[in-house]
Symmetry: C2
């Protein structure tokens, strides 16, 4: 049974397994360094739908369908779906799963949603609340731009600190069996150091990543050397530098273990429109399901701390002058059989 | 330990307890039938803040603070806060709890958030993932109107089927000890029968309530007579009638057990601006924390099925012609010691 380790970390002693997973991406994601690792690349930004919002929903639905198919599972094998996305009232997730017939727990964790949903899915399996649970999320460049920033046709200039919302989705099914193990979970605390620039979200999220990582390492009595990779969600270039600085101040050296989904997903030289790197719920989700889980499954990597990070502001809160609260949930994954 | 009962219901055999709770409301809620049962009524719609969004956040923060105070608990006693609200990117919840230092799991279940959060809090305590977990949500008439409908100064005419978003918040702390017991949980499935009228959300949510109730009764082999009250979230007058009809079709008679938070919160004669009744996350939350939990605690009522219902659309999905998916999560509460 699960044990509370230290103050913030839950060790999953029955070690739930990620049974299957899938990643779906758009054209730009297909052209990036991880392009060949997606299960499906769709070049049409409308994904055969009438609107971008419907496209994002279809993408999320397809990611889960592919994950189930790859695991020879049916939708009705799922006891619960944990899902969310960036859109107002999480409509991508709702409409993606409305016909599933599966109990649905809607989440909002902004870009941290993949680790939030994966953590809850693993905890539900650990506790025996369900046999199999899905964790799913998505983002879409076009839906996010028009909701959070400017209409695309406006052709606004992007700042060098800006990140590019990934058009992507990832889905993972947790149960008991063969596959990467979920060893532990640290649910994050909201951290807000007063960053107000909505074009520099990596900087807003880095303190939350530092806080969660510090708590996990303290709770488990481990150091970064004990893990092959420490993979943050989407801090991008600026947030990644800041994370290293914040950890240094705590006397914790990342030892070359740190990677960031926002930097893994795109080639910032060849794809320079992404500026400081990728972001969006689908960024961490697709890197997890396209690269990290397969690498663990094949034993190429033995131990990963997956730490998706979220910036919990809205256009309204920013317009009202509020700073940007960040959050980061951590899931420890291993290739242990 | 928890048992899966039938297909959709989880019985909580260690029976987590609702240790403390509090309800905060606005002026109209204070003038309603439950006015005297709120822990705090604030007549200023700004709650001493600069904006209504900040007011809603402050209200949610205050509800949790009062719940903790009434239970002689401190914020740091909480292992996790489950919270959400109706606003884009759930900013009421985020900003309410950003300084708490407590692990935060953001939810989006629209007006079903109180039963979603209470269910997860109880499940976390049941599994031993934490000693104490909080479930919190809120809504505010002014933030909801301007986000979902029209600017208030526009003075738009409301339809007779429209419901009134409650300015209210409720918070409950779950742990082990004295208080109403959480006996079982049924996480709901999204149900969408094609209602597209965003001014008739009770009708959109009633099929979800019927679906969840039917599953719970089947899983547990019980009938409505086995419960003192079956309390839906905020179906209002039209949705409540529809629920009875839908249950009738299934051969299940509600036997006078049905109540609806949207009808309990206001006096539709004296407060006729509420039209078909109350709604909003804060409606079910404040009725639960202001009336249902105290009634259970005092033994006035022995057994309640608390079923908050949510309409999972956004203005974007409605503008794009989508129908309104509904969801309903059920929590079975008793006064058993």
């Amino acid at each position: 049974m699960a044990r509370r380790v230290g103050g913030h970390t839950i060790a999953l002693d029955s070690r739930p397994t990620v049974l299957s997973w899938a990643a779906v991406g758009g054209k730009l994601e297909g052209e990036g360094p991880l392009g060949s690792r997606f299960d499906e690349i769709e070049e049409d930004s409308y994904y055969g739908q009438q609107t971008w919002e419907q496209a994002e929903s279809a993408m999320q639905k397809q990611a889960l369908a592919l994950a189930l198919e790859k695991g020879s599972l049916a939708t009705q094998d799922l006891g619960v779906i944990f899902a969310g996305d960036l859109l107002n009232q999480s409509i991508s997730a709702t409409f993606a799963h409305r016909a599933s017939g599966v109990p649905f727990v809607g989440l909002y964790g902004a870009c941290s949603t993949m680790s939030e949903s994966l953590a809850l899915a693993a905890l539900f399996v650990e506790a025996g609340f369900t046999q199999k649970a899905a964790a799913v999320t998505s983002s879409h460049f076009c839906t996010a731009e028009r909701q959070f920033r400017f209409p695309l046709v406006y052709g606004g200039q992007r700042t060098p600190t800006a990140q590019w919302t990934a058009t992507a989705s990832g889905a993972a099914v947790v149960g008991s069996g063969t596959g990467p193990r979920v060893e532990a979970v640290t649910l994050g605390t909201i951290v807000d150091l007063g960053i107000t620039d909505a074009n520099n979200m990596g900087a807003a999220m880095a303190p939350a990543a530092a806080d969660t990582l510090k708590k996990f390492l303290k709770d488990t009595g481990t150091t970064p050397k004990d893990y092959d990779q420490i993979v943050t969600g989407d801090l991008g270039a600026i947030g990644s530098t800041l994370l290293a600085e914040l950890m240094d101040k705590e006397g914790i050296v990342l030892e070359g273990r740190h990677r960031d989904c926002g930097l893994l997903l795109y080639d910032r030289e060849a794809q320079n429109q992404v500026e400081a790197g990728g972001s969006g719920c689908g960024c961490a989700a697709s890197v997890l399901c396209g690269a990290l889980l397969p690498d663990l499954d094949q034993g190429l990597v033995k131990s990963i701390l997956f730490m998706a990070t979220g910036a919990l502001m809205s256009t309204t809160s920013s317009q009202q002058g509020e700073s940007i609260p960040g959050i980061c949930h951590l899931v420890h994954l291993t290739s242990r059989r």
